[in-house]
Amino acid sequence: MTTLTAYINGIGLLGPGLFGWSESEPILAGQRPYIKLPTALPLPMLLPAAERRRSGAIVKTTLATGLEASAAAGLDPATLACVYSASGSDGQNCHEICLTLASDDRHISPTRFHNSVHNAAAGYWSIATGAMTPISVLCAYDASFGAGLLEALTQVIVDHTATLLISSDTTYPEPLHHTRPIPDNFATALVLAPVASALSIAKISVSLTSEPAHTLSDATLEQLRASIPSARSLPLLQALAQKRNERIVLDYLAPLQIAVDITLC
């Protein structure tokens, strides 16, 4: 049984009624009620004005959570290797391109086209932060958070480097929404490091398992977990918020799942 061990040194979170990890921690800990509100999208102030104006939800959630996690870890984001995992690209942008291509005038705007790549948000992350470090860009449909977590952990362990994992998803407009009903924008970010620091939150030991994935007892939060790939992280985040040394099983490529043994720092 292979076990991958690393330290969580920073967390970023953005979702419906979850505005940042520090505001969400008491909610996930059960100390404050969860109130579902539409995901608030912070402006990506690090981007030049033109890019900031044109940036879609996927860029905003990616930058906001990546910056929150790296600030919490006390690290300059430009120094971190990065894994960006998303179940889709910018849904609105994809819809606009398909509409244009189905019309009589197929002229796509160049900006729409370069924003259509799956790694657009990862590209803006490196442009905004100046990070010239490697970025892995993944998609594994509903397993995207788990795939990103494994990729980031192998980077931490094999290349012995602190790595920022960002997993984000955005909504599609109709008619694509009907075929992929992601209810709102969501992103999770973790700074994972090979050694503990003064700011380390927990040590995690991760292995593959066939045990069933954990669900959340709060029905509204469970609905988020089940309907948004990057929200599959919530059982892990809840255990961290509740300060529990616990074994959590996260959804991956069922029946192949990911077990996370948490030891708080």
Binding site: C98, L101, R106, A120, Y124, S136, Y141, R180
Partner: protein, 397 residues
């Protein structure tokens, strides 16, 4: 890094199905680029279309995955005994010990484009024939490949635009080194679609005639399609003489612009240097470089500066995109296979279509084939969003 063995590999592009046809096309300096007649596209450009994709029959249990991209994947997987090799590896290691990491930039967006023409007049709904998860979603290609072989280990699609299927080698390398898997099916598949044809056209980046990498009058890319796969395994104690190894991987980000490379090629330089460092090699130990060489004015200028900064002007190099077109998310894997063919057959392929080399780029750019026994080759892949990846391959003896 510990070298990894490319125990089996295959490629299908507009220059041929499988290794034999691909090698013959390279030996004959033949291009597969033809004026674009794809679907309903009305664009004055050439494309590298693979013949016979429409005739491919997806197995019934994977019918929901039927789309141009997965058909090309299957067409490629059944060449050169590759499927048999994967099945043998599954027997040897166990199905849960083989990872699947496949690069694509557009997955089956073609089917979504077509579905948008067939929306319900009243409700606006997409037709029932449209399957988001198994066609449109980028994971479709890795999922299809995994299910095609009944593999049960870790899997992901890598989608970093035109470096996607170079970076799959990096994901597999780390996962094998971490001990999660013993082997990996890596590769890249990208197919023609209107998004990339009209998209690159909107950027003014599609060439009127077949693309001419590193030519002084180069005017853009010719879009191609391809499927290429490699079975990557830990290096065994005994190697055959013509065994091909992955010796190093280097990655970087430009942090500069979404669709233009860093003008000095800084990110590209960092990726090549990182690959050399990982392999423990000096630039003089690389015998041939398969360039990214898209034939856009800015890519070739930036890459040229980066290559000369790392290697000087004496390392033989070429872009094979004049033959295959730019196969986008499949380019990394396709050109990895071309490097493997170069190493195994002592053939340094010419950069065809190019007439007059850009005098501002001082490289030993091959305009004709060179037959020479070589030991190590580098392959460059750079993508939108400034994602760079360089791979180094070597021949065992």
């Amino acid at each position: 890094m510990k070298s990894l063995l490319l125990s089996h590999f295959t490629a299908t592009s507009c220059i041929g199905r499988g290794l034999d046809q691909t090698l013959v096309a390279l030996q004959q300096c033949r291009t597969g680029l033809l004026p674009c007649t794809f679907e309903t596209a009305e664009l004055a450009t050439s494309v590298g279309e693979v013949a016979g994709i429409d005739a491919v029959q997806i197995p019934p249990h994977l019918a929901a995955y039927d789309c141009r991209n997965n058909r090309l994947a299957q067409l490629a997987l059944i060449q050169d005994g590759f499927a048999d090799a994967v099945n043998a590896a599954a027997e040897k290691y166990g199905r849960h010990r083989i990872g699947v990491f496949i690069g694509t930039s557009t997955s089956a967006i073609l089917e979504t484009e077509l579905a948008y023409r067939q929306t319900d007049a009243e409700t606006g709904a997409l037709p029932d024939s449209f399957h988001y998860r198994t066609q449109h979603n980028s994971y479709s290609i890795a999922d299809f490949t995994r299910l095609y072989f009944g593999l049960t280990g870790p899997a992901a699609t890598v989608s970093s635009a035109c470096s996607s299927s170079a970076k799959v080698f990096s994901s597999a390398r780390r996962m094998i080194a971490a001990g999660l898997i013993d082997a990996a099916v890596v590769g890249g598949v990208d197919t023609l679609c209107l998004t990339t044809l009209y998209g690159f056209n909107s950027l003014g980046l599609t060439a009127a005639q077949p693309c001419r990498p590193y030519d002084t009058t180069r005017d853009g890319i010719s879009i191609g399609e391809a499927g290429a796969f490699v079975l990557l395994e830990q290096q065994p104690a005994q190697l055959e003489d013509n065994a091909i190894l992955l010796l190093g991987v280097g990655e970087s980000s430009d942090a500069y612009h979404m669709s233009s490379p860093h003008p000095e090629g800084l990110g590209a330089r960092m990726a090549m240097q990182a690959a050399l460092d990982m392999a423990g090699l000096s630039p003089q130990q690389i015998d041939y470089i398969n360039l990214h060489g898209t034939a856009t004015p800015s890519n070739d200028a930036a890459e040229g500066k980066a290559v000369s900064a790392v290697f000087g002007a004496s390392t033989p190099c070429s872009s094979t995109k004049g033959a295959t077109g730019h196969t986008l998310g499949a380019a990394g894997a396709l050109e990895a296979v071309i490097c493997a063919l170069a190493l195994r057959n002592g053939l340094l392929p010419a950069g065809i279509n190019t007439q007059q080399l850009d005098p501002d780029i001082p490289l030993d750019y091959l305009l004709t084939n060179r037959e020479q026994v070589i030991t190590r080759a580098m392959s460059n892949s750079f993508g939108f969003g400034g994602t760079n990846c360089s791979l180094i391959f070597g021949r065992a003896a």
